[in-house]
Subunit: 208 residues, 2 copies
């Protein structure tokens, strides 16, 4: 991901990349192998040392077979994004349309999980996503035979978090006065959840 020389499109110092990955955990797994790009979307969890991304693919999905020998592997976490109209600035004739967004990419190497690591990952995954539900479903509700069948049908992958690259394009190159106008403009887009989320990111990251 490109970061312009002015380096303004970065998150502020309070930004926690691991929290971002947790929040936008249904991510895009991208690899290049013999020149070809392969893409699949899967939910990830982070290991307790913040060293690895943990996920799984269907065993019938050929993607996992190329991952350990891939030339490059990236996991892309998409945050929200929103169109910014020049009309929202104080001087619409002095400005051009743009797009604000937040996203993060991890580069790393892939290895395959053991059977126990896979079960642990599945337990952690359901624990996280069931935590906000009224009566959380847990993996131990499954009969051993079913759990075994499920594990046979998938392949667990671990991706080392070798490099994190993030981008917060949130109009940091504009004055505080202009930022307030943009925030008002986004607030007027009441039907767009994305615009409201970007508004929130602009407020917390730019302190306004």
């Amino acid at each position: 991901m490109y970061q312009p020389k002015h380096q303004l499109f970065q998150f502020n110092i309070d930004f926690n990349p691991y929290q971002f990955m947790q929040k936008y955990s249904f991510a895009t797994l991208i690899s290049s192998y013999q020149g070809e790009i392969e893409i699949n979307q899967i939910p990830f969890v982070i290991d307790q040392d913040n060293d690895q991304l943990l996920g799984h693919l269907a065993r019938t999905n050929p993607h996992w077979q190329h991952l350990t020998q891939a030339d490059d592997v990236k996991v892309f976490f998409n945050g929200p994004d929103a169109y910014i109209s020049p009309n929202w600035y104080q001087q619409p004739k002095q400005n051009v349309p743009t797009w604000n967004y937040v996203s993060l990419e991890v580069s790393g190497k892939v290895s395959l999980m053991s059977d126990q690591e896979l079960i642990d990952q599945l337990a952690q995954l359901s624990q996280i996503h069931e935590s906000t539900l009224e009566t959380p479903w847990t993996i131990d509700l499954l009969e051993p035979k079913q759990l075994d069948r499920m594990c046979q049908a998938i392949v667990g992958i671990k991706i080392s978090i070798d490099r994190i690259n993030s981008k917060a394009k949130l109009s940091q190159n504009k004055s505080v006065a202009e930022l307030k106008h943009l925030i008002e403009g986004l607030a007027s887009q009441t039907e767009s959840d994305n615009s409201q989320q970007i508004r929130h990111w602009m407020q917390t990251q730019n302190g306004c």
Copy 2:
């Protein structure tokens, strides 16, 4: 993107891939060049013959320099996604967690735009995104000097739509009775816009 042998995770016959690309037009441009993956997010428009994706990058972003010689180029359009709890099925002990989502990838070759093509793309882009606003901003509000400065700072790209690959993972492998339970479950996630969008996709694609 992996499509399992049962081929159920496809959109129904009413699906229009070009409408999907228009709706989720802020997409992820991914290329592999000399083994390395490069990723940037940009808004795309489709040319009038549905032959090409049109976009632009900052001239200072080195990504455009590799695009015409890339080994592979894909544009990934992310639709919404949502966690599906086993608790929502009639038999929670017979089911496992899953994730539903809709997305689409385009594979193609990249060429660079002429100055006029770039201006046309910018005009089309603002026309589309300003169309829902009260007083649409148009590119001709800019003074010729400003427009010229803007065009100097960016590089227009055209990507041939050689192959479209889409995925609609919307529980099509479940019975209509179970689908109704899942739709209720998603409806209960009132704070998640993503869950409501997936619910809508499940209803329109599965006809329930």
